[in-house]
Amino acid sequence: MQNGIEMESTIKDSVFLSFFHFLGKRAMNVISNLGGIVIFFTLSFLKIFQPKQIREIVQQVFYIGARSSNIVLLVGLFTGMVLGLQLYYTLIKFGSQGVLGSVIALTLIRELGPVLTAIMITARAGSAMTAEIGILRISEQIDALYTMRIDPQRYLISPRIAASIISFPLLTAFFDLIGILGGYLTGVVLLGVDKGAYFYRIDSYVDLVDIRGGFIKSFVFAVLVSTICCYEGYFTHLRTDSYGAKSVSLSTTSAVVFSCVMILISDYVVTSFLM
């Protein structure tokens, strides 16, 4: 009987311990990964300013920025249009449909523009970054760069981070503009809000602080998305849950999910600092 009780308590202890062991291991993993990401970003960022980078950066601006512009503009247009619809029917209850333009513009510039643009670029270019770098890694092409004395981080990562820092704010600006036009289409053209009032309110209520806040956000998102996506691809060979092509696919999925989560979390943090 005594033995049985001892055994039961040992089992409880071991389950208890293994639970904490698991928790501790996970926590250590998360912390070491975060540390790794920070070092990875710092080194890659510094290498942006090394020679022979302009050509690579321009190429990446084309891939990340120019190639994403269509989808960003399309999403921006429909976001603006649906905002116009929703806000018109909400504001009309208070007889304030005259402020439609400023509400749409502020919503887009402060919040939706940077967030939705970042999410769209993550889905389009971020996933491609992870997959491409991951494939380069598993096919030893990154090792090949090293053997050719080409710093893989300088050649592959830095131009992508630089291009993201350039492209995100630009695409956000396009998103905001086309969104405001979308709001104009539904609010003014479709629902009859006064055209002058629409633009006048935007002009009077949107300050430079709002625009600056939006750009700060898009800069933060650019850093986060490009770093996370590149990091996941670059270290895809270190994954313990899978190998080869499977590890690339899992890295791509986790890069997109992690980036989207980080966009939303950092959005809250940055907004709270800007307010």
Binding site: K52, L136, S139, E140, Q141, D143, A144, Y146, T147, M148, R149, I150, Y155
Partner: protein, 416 residues
């Protein structure tokens, strides 16, 4: 004593709990072709990656010209790295870049050369590797052999002093395999680099190697020349070699080295019976042909010569094996020197009349020959008996080389 170019001293490498290199000691000398052989998974690629710095040892030290690389300053390390190039097993070509861009990449990224100079250098390598027609194509559009050549061109474009080849001939057919190996030997001679290569392709790789290292259970079980290797008796060599060498040489269809040796000792009856044998060592101007008409032409001629030797001497009880690059050793049991001379004369006549004209077609594989060249077929003979070691018989045959047939070929309209 010559200082090794690269030296491993008690190098140990572990991955988790598994020890891959176990207190390994080895030496690699300058301007030589050193071949590393060993079972799959024995750590050959790990060894190579230590040389270029992709991996670093857990214990022990790696020395470059006597200085430990781990203690090198940044500038010294960069200088060392600048001299080393690596050709990957799977080529590691950039799929999104054309052949030209792949080869130009190291020059564009690591040198201050102007666009024009880079273009000239890349194009000259492209021409040397006979890749001009595919310069604008992407790696995925090329055959495996062509991809190997692109990878070789890329690894040589920076004029490295040391080139590491990780299984450069894997997955190639016997002819292509020998062409790649000949290319390595040819360019090593032309550019004067030190080559370190991993290969399972025995015996082909031995014919171009100056030194052989046998990796066994994390240690170097043997290091030395091919001649020393053939005399090195160890059960693991037999186990390993016989398992991969097979019974016949895939290129020429002749006996493999091991089969040849055992047939030779069987013929002599282990020394119990007094048997006369005559060794005939056939050779041809392999290097000249490779230089003038390309490695493929030389390999094709070697293959054809092997087939003719087999066809003629096989029915007479003779057996043959590839001896060195461009050399075939035939043993004629119970045949004296006089009779052998008669047979070789007859063989030479047939070769001159029937076989060599066919070689003209084979050598057209590289149609860019600027001039016609003469192929010499030589033969050296020596008589041996039960008291003689095979190596002694071969040495004697080697010393008595005479031209037995010659043929003018390589250019349109060339003649005997």
């Amino acid at each position: 004593m010559e200082t090794p170019l690269i030296e491993f001293r008690d190098v140990t490498k572990r991955f988790d709990e598994k020890t891959i290199l176990d207190k390994m000691n080895l030496s690699i000398y300058e301007k030589q072709i050193t071949t590393i052989i060993g079972k799959s998974g024995s750590g050959k690629s790990v060894l190579l990656k230590h040389i270029i710095g992709l991996l670093s040892p857990n214990e022990g030290s790696i020395l470059f010209r006597g200085s430990p690389v781990q203690e090198m300053k940044r500038s010294e390390w960069d200088g060392y790295r600048n001299q080393v190039s690596y050709m990957f097993q799977n080529n590691a070509l950039f799929d999104s870049m054309s052949v030209f861009e792949n080869i130009a990449l190291p020059l564009r990224q690591t040198t201050g050369l102007r666009k024009k100079a880079i273009e000239q250098k890349v194009m000259s390598r492209i021409e040397q590797m006979e890749l001009t027609d595919v310069a604008k194509q992407y790696p995925s559009e090329l055959s495996g052999g062509m991809q190997k050549r692109v990878a070789l061109a890329r690894s040589l474009v920076t004029d490295p002093a040391i080139v590491l080849f990780d299984e450069p001939t894997t997955g190639q057919d016997p002819i292509r395999r020998n062409i790649i190996l000949s290319m390595i030997a040819h360019y090593r001679k032309q550019f004067g680099f030190t080559a370190i290569l991993i290969s399972h392709d025995i015996p082909d790789v031995f014919f171009i190697s100056d030194r052989i290292l046998l990796l066994w259970e994390g240690k170097i079980a043997f290091q030395g020349t091919y001649e020393e290797y053939t005399r090195f008796k160890h059960p693991m060599i037999d186990e390993f070699l016989i398992s991969i060498e097979g019974l016949r040489d895939e290129l020429t269809g002749l006996l493999s080295k091991e089969m040849f040796r055992s047939r030779y000792y069987m013929t002599l009856g282990g020394g119990r019976v007094d048997t006369t044998v005559t060794a005939v060592l056939f050779g041809f101007s392999f290097d000249l042909l490779a230089d003038e008409l390309g490695p493929q032409a030389a390999i094709e001629v070697l293959k054809a010569l092997g087939e003719h030797v087999n066809d003629y001497f096989g029915p007479l009880g003779g057996f043959s094996s590839r001896h060195r690059r461009g050399e075939i050793l035939t043993i004629l049991p119970r045949v004296g020197l006089d009779e052998a001379e008669q047979l070789v004369r007859d063989f030479a006549q047939r070769l001159q009349q029937k076989a060599l004209p066919g070689i003209q077609a084979l050598t057209r594989v590289k149609a860019k020959a600027k001039k016609s060249i003469e192929i010499y077929v030589t033969a050296g003979m020596s008589e041996g008996s039960t008291s003689d070691d095979i190596d002694q018989v071969m040495e004697k045959a080697e010393a008595n080389q005479k031209i037995i047939a010659r043929y003018q070929c390589g250019k349109e309209g060339a003649s005997k």
